[in-house]
Structure formats: structure tokens, C-alpha cells
Amino acid sequence: MSARWEDLLEQVVRERHGRLVGYALLVCGSREDAQDLVQDALVATFSGRARFTTLAQAEAYVRRAIVTRSIDESRRRTRERSAVTRLGARPATPVVVEARGLGADVHAALQGLAPRERACVVLRHVDDLSVRETAAALGLSEGAVKRYTADATARLDAVLGTTTTDRETAAVRLLDHVGGEA
């Protein structure tokens, strides 16, 4: 049983690690966090039951694990901050200094979103997952995915000057407003 997953793990690490770190930086605060997140995702992916045989399949699983674990991590940090605040102390906020340029701008814009919004944007607009697939991956309702994605893309478009071609979310926002939830 040894050869297959070990060979594939080595291939993913050698050929895709750098880009996976870049991907993880979309959903977490610092390069160190991104590197930790990628390692956790690699271990989780290759320890699990999922069966994949190609580099592309393995990378897709690792990416999914990166996004879902980023939400778990943000939940943990929220709990930690609450506890620290209750104790009257100030949590140490990691200072992120990235190189200037498009990557830094996108990273900063994404940091202005809530973790679930970031996750929805990345799965929908980077990995091209459907609403249903994104909902299943993140344990959210399809309605929630549409709302998070719509809110997030509107803010990213405003900050980055981008355009979003997927307009399925407009109607959802309208319905939310009608329902008085926004």
C-alpha cells in the first residue's frame, strides 16, 4: 500500500506546494499561517479515505481541505479572543506584511471579509464549485452560500475594481432584503 500515496504526496509537495501556499493566503492572515494550513490540509487529505490517483485530483482535495480548515481555524481564534477579552487582555494580532502588488491588494481585500465569505468566494470563484458543492463542503445551506458570496463579491468588486460575471446572487440579495434579513 505504500507506494501510491507516498509518490503522489511527493509530487503534490514538489510541484504544487508553492501555489497551494498562495491559495491558502487567500483565506488566512499570514504566510506562516498559510504554510501551517497547507501542511494540515496535506496530512488530513492523505490520511483520509478519499481515493485519488492523479495530481489534479489530489490538489483539488487539498484545496478543499485548506478552505474548510481555515473556517475551523477562524472559529478557534474567535473563541480564543473571547476568552482573552473576558480576562481583560488584548489579543496579539498578527501583523501581515506582504509585498506590494496585485497579490497584496487581493489579500488585503479578502482580509476585510468574514471567514465564511472568504471561503465562499474562493470555492465559487477560484475552484468553480457550484452553490450546492460549496454548501456541502462548508456545511452551510445553499441560501447562505449565495448570500455570503453575493455580499463578498460586491465588496471585492468595490475595493479591487473587479467585475463579477456570475449574477445569480443579485436576486438572492433582493429576496434577503425583502425578507428583512439583511
Partner: protein
């Protein structure tokens, strides 16, 4: 440059990507972590599995009291030679190969070098020379995961000779692990590959390795043709035939690798968009099923008709059968490939087709549920020889009317079985090690590897 959000996010990933090469340290750490997790998962699932087996076992027993029929294909237990009277004496493990037992106040015996090896009796020259087609040479190199995910070998790899009935004979202990490549049944030499490097001739009686006559270290194994010549191809594309007396002949130069099963008459083998005729020393071509299709040979329906798998421009992978022309003929008057499928195997999932000596076909693919499946096709009748129960795959080798199956699973060592297509029975030739090592102070081990290489004895 597109300002679409999707495109901007993609470019951002490129900019944010780490430029540092992932180091060996990272890779080693990941490997250990994954192994450790797999050991933990396996331990938990083994406990759950035992409980489940208890329930299923009870149900089966209760069923047997009131109903009758046994399964149509029932694995036959391995014939176990009596270890007390005839098994090979266990050699004392050398210190360098013996893992240190866990420190304990109770003295435990050291792990023997034979730990994890299957039972066997010593081979004799007479037994070796009497081996027929379908007897198997197999290398067993048991390794287990222990502690923090360390991979441990208790002793050296061992080469076994195994009969189709499951009788095992220990041939020799190997200084290194070799990949078995070719063995003509009854011969006292086999061709092996040393650590994915050069090919050598292994003397099965002495363990000595010698260069293979007629080839260089650059040559790669292809097969044996109808005249008993071994066929080789080097990285420059030179196709070489080596006669039994060691004389070699250059058949052709082709950069397209030769591969897949040989035709039933052993004169043809796949080669890109065609087949290579070893007898005529030239290539023959088939027509791709569609423009832009990329095809490879999966096997043979006869000496005149080949099964091909093609990735087509619409992104689909399909299986076809097609004859081929005697000469290069680029005009579209060539016969057009026809879709090829059979019951029990999903269209497009076929990956190997080979004939038994009685003309029936062995086909490897996946069923509708995506499970690896091996079937025997006799006209329109299809019999399942093996189907994966869980995350497993099978590597297949055909010998006469026997189908050798090396089962590769994610969570245990490999296992070698033989399916007899004449009787429909399955026999374990090389089992997965089951020793727990408790008597040696080992707790919670998982067998990582067992049989690592095998080759069936062939006619030539």
C-alpha cells in the same frame, strides 16, 4: 488583461505563491504525520471491523443452519505446509536488521528475521525444474509501521516459488530487493530489475546476479515474442530482439514506447497510434476514432483486432476495437474503430484486455459503482473473477488459464491470489502478514508491505 474577479483571484494566487522549494524536511515530516494518522485510523477501524465481523459471522452461521448455497466463487485457503516438520529454520536476525524492542521490565525475545514471512518449505532443484506454467515467483519483503510511523523491516526480502495450489517454497534470501521481470517456468534463471535500474539474470539456485546477454543497461524490458526472443527498447528508441543463445538483432528505431499486452501469438505489441509487428519488424496503424483523439493499446481480441482506449477532444475517454492495416495508409479508407464494451464493466473504464490460452478474454476495469473489477469474457457470457470490496485495486497477469491478481489496498500490505478460470476458484498464494508481534513487545503494528513483486512462469 481581464478584470474579472475570477481572473484577478487566479493572478493573485500566482503572485502570492511561495517561491521556496518545499524541502526534504517538510516532505519527511508530512510522510511521518500521514503514516501516524493512518496507523491510528487503522487501529480504530480494526476494532470496529472486529465487532462488525462478529455480527456478520453470527448472521452467516445462523443462515447456514437454515439455508444452503455456498458462494459460487469461494476463495480456497492457502495450503499451509506443516511448519514443525518441514519449514525453513528461522535464521537469527542480525542486530542491524532487528528493531529494538520496547524497553520493559519483562524480557521479550528479539523480532526474528522471518517476522511477517509466510510459511514455506525449502525449494529443491528438482521442484524448481518441474515448475509448470502458472507457477509463480514472488518476493516477500514484509514491513510494518510502528510507533510514530516508522517503517520497519525485520529481515531481508525472500524469494518464494509458489504453485497454483498455494504450496510455497523458499528459494533464497535476497541481498537487495529485486523486481521480478520474466521467468520461463522450470528454468533456473529469472530476469530481474535491480532497484528500478539495470536488468540482471538471477540464478535461482545460487542467488548470483549476472548481466543479461545481448543488452546494455539502457535497455528496458518489453516482452517475449513467438520465437522466444526477449524484446527490449532503449531510451533512444532502438528495439532489440535477443535470441535464447544471446545473439541480438535490432528490429527498428521508434521513439514511441512499446507497451501493453502482447497479441495472442506474441508477434504484436501496442505502440502509440498503432501496433508494432515484431516478426515483420515494422509498425502497423489503426485509424483514430475522431480527430484529435489520443489512443493507446489496452489489449487484443485476436491477432488481427486490438482494443484501444482513447481520450477524445470532447474530454471523454472511450474504448474501441479496431483492426489495423498491414502498411501505413493515411487515407480514411482504413476500417473505423467501433465502440467496445461488455456487461459488468463501465464503458470507458477498461484498462487491460488479455487472452487466456483457451481464447477467453480477461478484462480489467471498474463496475458501475466504481469498484475495480476483473472479469472473464466467453463470447457473450461474462464471469466476475474478482471485484474490490473496498478501496482496492488489482494488477493482473495471465498465465495459461490462470489469472494472477495482486491486490493493492490503501490500508494493508498487498496480497497475491490466483483465479483459476477453468474451475472458478480463487487461491491465496501470498497472504497479507497477520503477525501481531505481541510476543516481541510490539504493540499496535500495521503491516505496510508483504509481497512486493511477482511473475508467473511462462511458456517461453
Amino acid at each position: 488583461m481581464s478584470n474579472d474577479l475570477n481572473a484577478v483571484l487566479g493572478r493573485a494566487i500566482d503572485e502570492l505563491a511561495s517561491r521556496d522549494d518545499a524541502g526534504e524536511l517538510l516532505l519527511a515530516g508530512l510522510r511521518r504525520s500521514v503514516r501516524r494518522r493512518r496507523v491510528q485510523r487503522h487501529t480504530v477501524e480494526s476494532v470496529v471491523g472486529l465487532a462488525a465481523v462478529g455480527v456478520v459471522g453470527t448472521a452467516a452461521w445462523a443462515g447456514l443452519r437454515f439455508t444452503t448455497p455456498p458462494p459460487a466463487v469461494e476463495p480456497t485457503p492457502t495450503v499451509q505446509p506443516t511448519p514443525t516438520a518441514t519449514s525453513t529454520p528461522t535464521p537469527t536476525a542480525t542486530p542491524s536488521l532487528t528493531p529494538s524492542p520496547t524497553p520493559s521490565t519483562t524480557t521479550t525475545p528479539p523480532v526474528p528475521a522471518s517476522f511477517g514471512q509466510p510459511s514455506s518449505v525449502p525449494v529443491t532443484p528438482a521442484v524448481l525444474r518441474s515448475a509448470k506454467v502458472g507457477w509463480v515467483l514472488a518476493v516477500s519483503a514484509p514491513q510494518y509501521l510502528h510507533g510514530e510511523g516508522d517503517v520497519v523491516s525485520a529481515g531481508p526480502p525472500v524469494l518464494f516459488l509458489v504453485s497454483p495450489a498455494g504450496d510455497r517454497y523458499k528459494v533464497l534470501e535476497m541481498a537487495h530487493e529485486y523486481w521480478l521481470v520474466h521467468w520461463a517456468a522450470g528454468q533456473t534463471h529469472a530476469i530481474v530489475q535491480v532497484a528500478k535500474g539495470p536488468y540482471r539474470s538471477l540464478d535461482l539456485l545460487t542467488g548470483e546476479l549476472d548481466p543479461v546477454a545481448g543488452i546494455t543497461d539502457d535497455d528496458q524490458w518489453v516482452g517475449v515474442d513467438s520465437a522466444g526472443r526477449t524484446i527490449w527498447q532503449n531510451t533512444a528508441g532502438r528495439v532489440l530482439a535477443v535470441a535464447p543463445d544471446g545473439t541480438s538483432t535490432v528490429l527498428a528505431w521508434t521513439l514511441v514506447p512499446l507497451g501493453g499486452p502482447l497479441s495472442p501469438n506474441h508477434d504484436l505489441i501496442g505502440s502509440g497510434y498503432g501496433v508494432f509487428d515484431l516478426k515483420a519488424e515494422r509498425k502497423r496503424f489503426f485509424q483514430p476514432p475522431s480527430n484529435g483523439a489520443s489512443c493507446s493499446t489496452l489489449g487484443w481480441l485476436s491477432d488481427a483486432e486490438v482494443v484501444i482506449g482513447c481520450s477524445e477532444s470532447d474530454g471523454q475517454y472511450r474504448t474501441y476495437s479496431t483492426p489495423f492495416t498491414p502498411d501505413w495508409d493515411p487515407v480514411t479508407s482504413q476500417p473505423h474503430p467501433q465502440p467496445w464494451q461488455l456487461d459488468g464493466i463501465e464503458p470507458g473504464s477498461v484498462r487491460w484486455v488479455e487472452q487466456l490460452t483457451d481464447g477467453r478474454l480477461v478484462v480489467v476495469g471498474t463496475d458501475q459503482e466504481g469498484r475495480s473489477t476483473v472479469v472473464v469474457k466467453d463470447g457473450s457470457s461474462v464471469t466476475t473473477a474478482w471485484r474490490a470490496e473496498w478501496l482496492a485495486d488489482a494488477h493482473v497477469e495471465v498465465a495459461g488459464t490462470l489469472v494472477l491478481l495482486t491486490l493493492d489496498t490503501d490500508d494493508s500490505a498487498d496480497e497475491l491470489l490466483v483465479y483459476d478460470a477453468m474451475t472458478g476458484t480463487t487461491t491465496v498464494l501470498m497472504p497479507v502478514p497477520t503477525d501481531t508481534g505481541e510476543e516481541y513487545g510490539l504493540g499496535g503494528i500495521v503491516w505496510w508491505s508483504g509481497v512486493t513483486s511477482s511473475v508467473a512462469g511462462s511458456v517461453r
